[in-house]
């Protein structure tokens, strides 16, 4: 068995939801003598698994099962209440495509911005501009401000940057299915290259295609716990049954 590049142990996370939300100093002062009740929402409760080197692992679950919270903890956006995340290789989290875009900047500046946000050095990002624009099929629009792009063009550019910025472990949250058929084919080809190169991928998706075609293994999350584990196909079927 290949070694684990990511070890998730006993992760727990709860959010405290007040009966009345107070978000200003004024509300806190005037509400001082009106105590609030708080509800505790346990989103994750003792989640443990390994992601092995070169493996593609899917996490499935209904809305509210805790998938995105789990990925955010792995990505370092949220801190866990309990448990540990041990990463033995650099992680590239892509929790949303094109996060950080600036519509007032052109495609080149956005590639530099997004590339450095995703972990490329400025030098790497500069060197990759032509390659990224070519992958997205947007060479002619290099100096066009992003606000004039269609949503499809912007998504293609975001994908192209994301694929260039990939480090050893890739964490993906629902970012499949953008672009036309040709672009999807390029993405799938690039994805196969990444697998062949030994990258590990942890992905969340409601789409059966990537789960069944690309994943070596899958986990089903329900009520903040892992309730079953198996092949992509088996777990996707279990997920469909869970949804009724």
């Amino acid at each position: 068995m290949t070694p684990a590049v990511l070890e998730i142990r006993d992760i727990a996370k709860a959010f405290t939801i007040p009966s009345v939300r107070r978000t200003t100093v004024r509300e806190h002062i005037f509400g001082f003598f009106r105590p609030r009740s708080h509800q505790r929402l346990q989103v994750l409760d003792g989640v443990s698994f390994d992601l092995r080197a070169g493996e593609t692992l899917a996490i499935l679950g209904l809305n509210g099962a805790g998938k995105s919270t789990l990925l955010k903890i792995i990505a370092g956006v949220y801190s866990a209440d309990r448990g540990t995340v041990v990463a033995r290789a650099p992680i590239t989290p892509i929790l949303e495509l094109g996060v950080g875009w600036n519509g007032d900047l052109d495609a080149v500046d956005n590639v530099l911005l997004l590339g450095t946000l995703m972990g490329l050095s400025l030098r790497q990002a500069r060197a990759a501009i032509d390659e990224i624009l070519a992958f997205a099929g947007l060479e002619r629009f290099a100096n066009l401000e992003l606000k004039h792009f269609s949503s499809g063009m912007a998504s293609r550019l975001a994908y192209a940057v994301a694929f260039k910025a990939v480090r050893e472990v890739l964490v993906l949250d629902e970012i499949f299915a953008v672009g036309d058929l040709g672009f999807r084919a390029r993405c799938e080809a690039r994805y196969r290259e990444l697998r062949a190169a030994g990258h590990s991928v942890l992905l969340v998706s409601h789409d059966p295609k990537p789960v069944i075609e690309f994943c070596d293994r899958a986990l089903l999350l329900d009520g903040g716990r892992i309730v079953s584990e198996g092949s992509g196909r088996d777990i996707f079927e279990a997920y469909v049954r869970l949804g009724g």
Binding site: L113, T116, L117
Partner: protein, 254 residues
Amino acid sequence: MTPTVDVRGLLWTLIRTDFKVRYHGTVMGFLWALMKPAAMFLVLMTVFSLIFATDPHYKLNLLIGLYLWEFFAEGTKVGLTALAAKGYLLAKTRLPRWILIVTAPSNSLLTLLVVSVVLLVTLAVAGPRPPLVCVGLFVLLLVQLVLIVIGFALGTSSLFLRYRDLNQIWEVVVHAGFFLAPIVYPLGIMPQRFHVYLYLWPPTPIIQYARMLLVEGQVPTARALALLAGVTAVVFVTGLLLYRRFAPAAAEHL
């Protein structure tokens, strides 16, 4: 959080991006940044130089006070909302939060640096020529001013996510603070017994010492400089402690 980005490259990209977005496409570009303090200076000079006509350095003192104040006011205001303004990055990317905070006042910092260089060159050419040691200490004052603004931003930007009217409260404090600091009036017109309180407001010692160094060519006492260094350290360390306490959960309060 362990940095997983090229920190220097990202700092430069964010600063460059903010600058470009703010001034790109405007007819006068960066000169717009200088227009507000320049217009303010002209208005205040026209009114108050008549009142303080006996002070031969009034205009120069006003200019120094005003541009240092402008950096403090603008820097703290944008610093306070730094994390909220870039909340989309906070919620979806793995980057050290402090990068978003320290880059927020970059446009104000650029204005501060440009005006400082112009001021020092003008003083060297047209006088009064401050001694080199005074210029060195003035640069040290600027560093302390920047540290105060960044310390404030580190502390308050995480708190702002929990208390969304902090910016309005700070706006009121800044308005009052403009008159608390001796910007449009010489400190000497205030009764001596109030001076100690006025010096507790960090812009006051910065502005007063800058005037002493550049206009009068005098070095403040070691005790005075040490006290200012102490105030700077307290503001910065307090900001850092608040940042360490609240920033890790910042994404949960967006």
